[in-house]
Amino acid sequence: MKSAVRDAGLSALVALGLFAPLIGLVTENGDHGLELRGRPLAAAAVVVLVFLGRLLMLTRAAHIAPPVVSGPSPAMVRAGRALAPALLVFALVLPFGGSRYYVDLATLVLTYIMLGWGLNVVVGLAGLLDLGYVAFYAVGAYSYALLAVNFGLGFWSCLPLAGILAAFWGVLLGFPVLRLRGDYLAIVTLAFGEIIRIVLNNWVSLTNGPNGITGIPRPTLFGLRFSMDGGEGTFAGFFNMEPETIQRVIFLYYVILGLALLTNWFTLRLRRTPLGRAWEALREDETACRSLGINVTNTKLTAFAIGAMFGGFAGAFFATRQAFISPESFTFIESATVLAIVVLGGLGSQLGVALAAIVMVGGLELLRAFLSFLADQMGSPIFAGIANELPLYRMLIFGLALVVVMVLRPRGMVSTRTPTVLLVARGQG
């Protein structure tokens, strides 16, 4: 106990050094240049928190044996099996129960789930750390936007094109760089993501630069438009309904749900093919793969291209949903968010990715909404303040989560691996 207090005291001392200047003193842009404002209470609070947290960690670790690393219990496995279908049913009926706010939020979550599943092929299965995934998202979005605005092509004809173009860029980048070792690959993809964004920002004649592209057409349902005039050739007109925006919102929701499920189906099938197995083998040991006659570069390239293709699909959807895109939507933060989702979900686990996206994207937004609701009800400025600041903390939480997950559970939240093939069919099923 005594040593724990001393240890926690040392941690607090370190925290004091770390946080006293950066939290305790704020540089503010005042009237006469920068001014320094003291914020001792906040710094003190953080230091006390570190002290208590460390103390708790040390004393608990002393009392409770470290958690035994073992497989999930049968009950958890059963719950896990039931979870995926339950989520699917929930996703299918959600638009009928929720308001526009929830459908919009669910659409956002599904976009991230789709991106997560796409990146999962690259990072989770093939073990290639791609920090520039947003580049392919951007290629997909801009491909559709430019084709639609300049040539009047529709969403459904552009969707495959957007995917193919993104995959093409994936191959173009991947071909030279996939021979590099893992950490080099990570930084090269990071650089590539930035290059794409800078080019989009500066090639004004093509992309309209930072002002972005507006008036991107919405998708149609078998040729039926979702416009507010309700006339001939519109969804509302065809079904004799009152035209409402919610119809389009729900339609877009089902489009992304369909795309995400397609991604999931395709990935799950791929995993069971020789290619999918080669990806996982590559993740485990590249040298052994080479000794077995597997063309390592080509195999990596397919993972890269297929991951990029899904990123491209998601990008095209993003463009059609927003009807407006600009380079600002394609920063490193997006890549980091998607990576965090994949890592938190457990590299390689489809269900884990979905759960991570729901918690990290949906959960945080719901928490914010709940806090501002509380603030309205109680007139409490504290809750209002937290609610306003919460989005700022999102990336901070993501970053910390990446570190904590790697340190505590390197294989993520859902870390069981299902074999792609079994010799003995497992009895009870």
């Binding site: 003193l25 021979r179 950490d183 930084i187 980091a336």
Partner: protein, 304 residues
Amino acid sequence: MAYALQQLINGITLGMIYGLIAVGYTMVYGIIGMINFAHGDIFMIGAFLSLIALLGLASLGITAVPIALALTLIFAAALAALYGWTVERVAYRPLRGSFRLAPLISAIGMSITLQNFVQVSQGARVKPMEALIPGGFQIMEADGFAVRLSAMQIMIVVTTLCVLAIFTWLVTRTPLGRRMRACEQDLRMASLLGIDTDLTISVTFIIGAALAAVAGLLFLLYYGAIDFFIGFIAGVKAFTAAVLGGIGSLPGAVLGGLLIGLIEVFWSAYFSVEYKDVAAFSILIVALIFLPTGILGRAEVEKV
């Protein structure tokens, strides 16, 4: 000609700053074979610590520039070193021996954390600061163009050279440096020979972070404006410098830094400012593909 000379001066100044950051990348890579993605953000934190120290000293009435700068340098380097030590202790050390991607992902998480921590605690706006060291000399004038060498540039180059001289002495002439080089050669063997490898790795992070903080201070003085995002771009560029010079090689890091600084400045001067980062990033990709061992690096032999 005069214009080119001016660019050469600017490029060397900028290159010195990149070189200082690159040393941190190359040291950590040499010793534990990982890219410390958070290193660029340590540089950014060094710049913020410097800014806070300068403002704090001014409010305490210490305005004599040499004293203020010296105190700031010590303050920023010491606290950035504490950040470097903490990052290694919290995010990397527990992962030694974990699976291949784990330290990389943890490092990226640390980078995101530090960046957003500063954004949240210090705000997202650019922090401008008036020039602390005005003045300079006009070296020559030709073709109606005056080539200037500012006092700031002289200070940056002199400070960098002094810091690097101390650092070189530390690595080549002290028992500490010998331990570091032993760990770089063979970590396991070094530990079998009784070297406290954990301690040596910590010291490596501390020194790297302190150098990055010096770079942060110089960056702040040179550009007179910083924000929470500077570490990202500068980090990638400094990493490019480390790769270009030959990762693992300390003189290579400085050489690479100079090259990147010169390329960036000349590119901006003769081609386009908008694409200056694209130039640096493209060099990274090209260097990794065609010159993976860099200019002064040694070839790595794959152990099978």
